[in-house]
């Protein structure tokens, strides 16, 4: 097994050198012309970090616009070295990027940046989430006619639905950056709290500005509460919560994939 172990050591050292620019090139490398292999190893180091930074740049275009390309690439490069992907499927690489942004000191002057990253991460999740048909209208009508048992209704969210609440106006900020290149970006008062639902309708990912109460309601439903308990939770968090408006918003955008009344508990 000595040979296999040597091979393992060699690959382990190579792997360690990829993400650590300070680390010397591992032993055992060579170039045909006797040139320093470190310059050639740099190609791999660059490929690894650049390709992952590019993946993050694709997922977080507005964060990148807000801080500029050079700042973004430096920030993302540090994240890549600290948190390389744990999966071979890169679609969701960057789920932890918003948490990294929270603690990234040089970005402290942009307190809304991490929540904006959260919004963009939710858009990626919504884009690739499982397909599901919206609950049919007749089923909704039937369920909502449950009379006194209406509070017991169980709602199923479309797999793409995510909710976001921020002390900053990240929804307006994000929307302002969806204009074409020449469009003037409207000034946004970033100190206003905002919330949104992020979901996919058909093939399109939507960012729907939504009242805080609607976001609380969706989170409560996701947490397993029935309609009545979720409404109570939402009302406690946002006294202006309106159940009818919220259900209308959810149904209008296909955010519910099921609605049913559980069987009466046998007594």
């Amino acid at each position: 097994m000595t040979g296999a172990t040597a091979l393992g050591d060699s690959q382990r050292q190579f792997a360690a050198a990829l993400l650590d620019p300070q680390r010397a090139a591992p032993p055992g490398l060579r170039a045909w012309n006797g040139s320093d292999p470190a310059a050639r190893l740099a190609v791999y180091r660059n490929n690894v970090v650049c390709s992952l930074v590019d993946a993050l740049a694709d997922s977080f275009p507005v964060v990148r616009q807000l801080v500029g390309d050079a700042f973004f690439r430096a920030m993302a490069g540090l994240f890549v070295r600290e948190s390389p992907p744990r999966s071979r499927v890169l679609a969701h690489y960057g789920k932890e990027f918003p948490a990294f942004v929270v603690g990234f000191e040089p970005a402290a002057g942009l307190p809304y940046l991490a929540d904006l990253a959260r919004l963009e991460a939710s858009r990626v999740v919504a884009y690739h989430a499982a397909d599901a048909e919206p609950v049919p209208d007749e089923m909704v009508s039937l369920a909502l006619a449950s009379g006194e048992r209406m509070g017991e209704l169980r709602l199923g969210l479309h797999p793409s639905v995510n909710a976001l609440a921020s002390p900053h106006a990240v929804v307006s900020l994000w929307a302002a950056h969806q204009l074409d290149d020449d469009g003037e970006i409207e000034p946004v008062d970033v100190d206003l709290p905002e919330s949104a639902l992020i979901l996919r309708t058909g093939l399109e990912v939507l960012v729907l500005p939504a009242p805080r109460g609607a976001v609380e309601f969706v989170e409560a439903v996701r947490g397993g509460l029935n309609l009545g308990d979720a409404a109570v939770r939402a009302m406690a968090a946002a006294p202006d919560f309106d159940l009818t408006t919220t259900l209308t918003l959810l149904l209008a955008h296909g955010a519910l994939s099921s609605i049913h009344l559980p069987p009466r508990p046998s007594s």
Partner: protein
């Protein structure tokens, strides 16, 4: 030595596929194809370009739902598909990731590709994935490991895979054989086919001071099931020698077209992918490159089965 898996690619020159067997086991159509890019999804479906096949990176489609599956399903209804993996880490010292093989099996079941290919490289170590195709030493230990891994892939997926020759920037003191000797041995021991990346041949031979034509002569070209063509970027090493980078971000270089002409002269028509993964241009630009490959193969003039290949989903 593996037991012979059920053949998905019949690539050998004298295999029945060459005689015109028109079922899926015949592999990809003998024409040019291009990579399917999200920015081209709608245009491809609206215009249905005359192409041999589309290729996708398997890992991009390992998502639950949404537009990627929606569009690939529609494209697959009209075109043959090549499924190209970039994440198996066949050259890795770690055991293969069985859950990744399960995801691949599910994609193969769903999309019925005419070919599955992977790389002679590693891309993950421990629990980190590096998203790059990293080099291996060409020695006995690596050979055993790579063959074990390919045996397992072919057994698990129930097909004959194609293995792609790599672009490399470094060599290892531990290497005891040439890349071509290593590939020959892998093909012989596992029965897998060869995905001949002609750009990689040019890049690696330039980077290591080898003669690309000699490299091609040293490979069992009869086992080629697909060819890749792509562009590279130019850099230099510490001694100022040219160092070519396999960037997939520019048109195919004339030197690579020249090598391709040699391959076509030897093989005749062969499924040929124009690869472009960075700075993806307009669909028309990629189609023009594919057209050039088709003309070089003489494929357009010949009423081969592949021109009528409409793989049903």
């Amino acid at each position: 030595m593996s037991s012979t898996p059920q053949a998905l690619n019949h690539a050998a020159t004298d295999s029945p596929a060459r005689a015109g067997v028109s079922d899926q086991a015949a592999g990809l159509p003998w024409r040019a194809g291009i990579g399917l890019k999200p920015q081209h999804f709608r245009e491809v479906l609206a215009t249905r370009p005359d192409l041999g096949f589309f290729e996708v990176h398997a890992e991009n489609y390992m998502v639950d739902g949404g537009p990627f599956h929606h569009f690939l399903t529609q494209v697959r209804a009209h075109y043959a598909l090549s499924l190209h993996g970039v994440g198996l880490s066949i050259g890795g010292i770690d055991p293969l990731d069985e859950s990744h093989l399960t995801r691949l099996a599910a994609l193969i079941e769903r999309y019925q590709p005419a070919s599955f290919s992977e790389h002679l490289a590693w891309s993950s170590h421990g629990d980190a994935f590096y998203n790059d195709l990293l080099p291996v030493p060409y020695d006995r230990q690596t050979l055993d490991r790579v063959c074990e891994h390919i045996d397992r892939v072919q057994e698990r997926l129930g097909l004959r895979m194609l293995l792609e020759n790599p672009s490399t920037y470094l060599e290892f003191e531990a290497s005891t054989m040439s890349e071509t000797a290593f590939l020959r041995e892998v093909l012989k021991r596992t029965g897998c086919g060869l995905l001949l990346d002609v750009n990689n041949v040019h890049v690696s031979c330039t980077n290591h001071g080898h003669d690309a034509l000699a490299y091609l002569r040293d490979l069992p070209l009869g086992e080629v099931g697909e060819v890749h063509l792509a562009g590279f970027a130019r850099d230099q090493d510490a001694a100022g020698a040219p160092l070519l980078i396999d960037s997939h971000g520019s048109p195919v270089d004339e030197a690579v077209w020249g090598l391709y002409a040699h391959v076509v002269a030897k093989l005749g028509a062969v499924p040929t992918l124009l690869e472009r993964d960075n700075d993806v241009p307009a669909l028309q630009t990629l189609l023009a490159e594919a057209g050039r490959a088709d003309i070089m193969m003489g494929a357009q003039a010949e009423p081969r089965r592949c021109g009528h290949y409409w793989g049903g989903a």
